[in-house]
Symmetry: C2
Subunit: 344 residues, 2 copies
């Protein structure tokens, strides 16, 4: 009977070390004065000082990339999913008024390719830097028999902070407030199972196919457009306390996410008319998907919604920040979200 | 052409809502006065006050359960993997002197069964309560085509805190210090790919099989024993500053983890002789695995190592806490970790 070792069982410790070495430089770029640890320690250390805050509150959120990863796998391009994940998480705590402190990632795969893992982490690190966030730690797990070779799952946790009296929870939203939308780049990280079912299974397209609706982009390029972060353009608004509510439009679409911040007695009327990225029109057409289902599954071009009593000032500051805000509706008396017009 | 909706694409939003409702009660039990958010918010809110600390430092770590999940799947028992994950993470920050504040989880699967997800979260919540840790948030992702039906991946992030002058990083370790070990319950969460390859593939055992080496436990029961948390028994030692270094024995075994906290000029001699759980003897025998490979892949019964200049006092306090400490070796002049004797 011959012996068996760890590599025979499908786990390659040396490839793991190679991956860590490839990641190190990118991760270190995200470190700031608050980071007290070196890569490779058991846990990441981060100084808990909150200059200027009287009652600091930590805001934490965890998320994954979802089956957008399947598209990355099909397209052989793992350079963007790290950015998707960080930006998604940044937006998720931004809606409560929090700015990011640090991020930790989890990468799992069936067989580790150090170069692929490093590409994912490079994306994570790039987005962390853009959002002033330290990439404090992470776990890369090789789980043979669990994932198909070539498949990678990527998830992460963000921790940010906000002064307690600056937490935004929608309680200050009242009927009459305006809703301003910020453009998404495409699907962001939601609705990919539906999109894949329509485009790849039902319509038989591949990531490298073109379609007249998409213009120059291939199907893969249109699907992989990076989830936008809204942090830097929102900071001037939050610092001036111009916002009563924010919604990050993820799974559930505008209705499913806006409803979460509306206080009792408040509904909303949404006025479509903003630019809808072509990929949504393609999915709707090829899947014969009803408008109501499209609204529940996708952001349809509205990646982030701002509720405010000062729409002119907000619009002006957003334009100054290079953003392209659009009017998206109004808060109403009621308890439901209605649409005034068709979107896609 | 008929329409397609989200459920057709393999994502069941209603089952997701059922899972959240089943989890809610268990998660709420972990909440303390520092938790400012309700379940279902975008991010979890946690008051950043650190009573008694002069320079609070956040310590964060992310980890997964690894392919122990495959054994849970084979045994149809998801009640313990949540505890495994939380306890693993608790130990990972404990070695730096940190006590847990909050935890966030990520559960991913191919087809969501609300009852299974709730069982995992119940385990997470139970272990969080035992470790004084709030289960602040999480993400449950249904990713059809990514995971086999019945497979669940589970990962999580812990955030804890430690006063800066109480961080333990091994820099106070000097030759002559004693190494005291604390028993593991079994594999904890490491070495499962190798264990599965040996027990299931090579030896053809199943989770419900018995083997004389294992006594009353089935193979599944022996493999699924819960990863121990060492927090509560270590607190009296840390509060009295009796410890110069700690190592959580995970992937890499004693040599791979102890080396991470030894300062320049320090090595160690390990003196096996403590109780080795039978599962390791079974794996070694059926896999014909050399002792050196066993030491690199498994904890071999030593789940946690303490380095101290006061071994008698440390041992006494651990015994008082109901723990079963054993002498595991000594810090030496040198730079390598040697073994004095065979272990398994």
């Amino acid at each position: 009977m011959s012996g068996i070792d760890y590599r025979d069982s499908g786990v390659d410790i040396d490839e793991g070390l190679r991956a860590v070495n490839l990641m190190k430089k990118e991760v270190k770029k995200t470190f700031n004065d608050n980071v007290l640890s070196e890569l490779g320690h058991f846990g990441g250390l981060f100084k808990a000082d909150f200059p200027g805050m009287t009652q600091p509150v930590l805001v934490a959120s965890m998320d994954g990339v979802g089956t957008k990863l399947k598209v990355a796998s099909l397209a052989g391009d793992y350079s963007t999913v790290g950015c998707d994940l960080v930006n998604h998480c940044v937006n998720d705590i931004l809606v409560q008024g929090a700015y990011p402190l640090f991020f930790l990632d989890y990468i799992a795969c069936g067989r580790l390719d150090a170069a692929v893992a490093a590409r994912i982490v490079t994306g994570l690190a790039k987005a962390c830097s853009e959002n002033g966030c330290a990439l404090l730690g992470g776990e890369t797990a090789e789980m043979p028999g669990f994932y198909n070779a070539g498949d990678y799952d990527v998830a992460g946790t963000i921790v940010g902070s906000v002064d307690r009296n600056r937490i935004i929870d929608g309680s200050a939203v009242v009927p009459g407030h305006s809703i301003i939308g910020l453009p998404s780049s495409g699907l962001h990280t939601n609705g990919f199972s539906l999109a894949r079912a329509v485009l790849f299974e039902k319509a038989g397209l591949t990531v490298s196919d073109h379609h007249e609706i998409l213009g120059e982009d291939t199907v893969g390029e249109a699907l992989l457009k990076i989830h936008r972060s809204y942090l830097n353009q929102m900071k001037p608004l939050l610092d001036r306390e111009l916002v009563t509510g924010m919604a990050h439009i993820t799974g559930g679409g505008v209705p499913g996410n806006l409803i979460r911040i509306l206080p009792e007695g408040c509904g909303a009327v949404i006025t479509p008319g903003w630019d809808v990225p072509p990929i949504f029109r393609l999915i709707k057409k090829l899947g014969s998907i009803p408008e109501t289902e499209m609204r529940r599954a996708f952001n349809l071009g509205a990646g982030f919604l701002i509720v405010t009593s000062q729409p002119e000032k907000v619009t002006e500051l957003l334009l100054q920040a290079g953003e392209k805000p659009f009017p998206a509706g109004e808060i109403t008396n009621g308890d439901s979200i209605e649409y005034d017009g068709e979107g896609v």
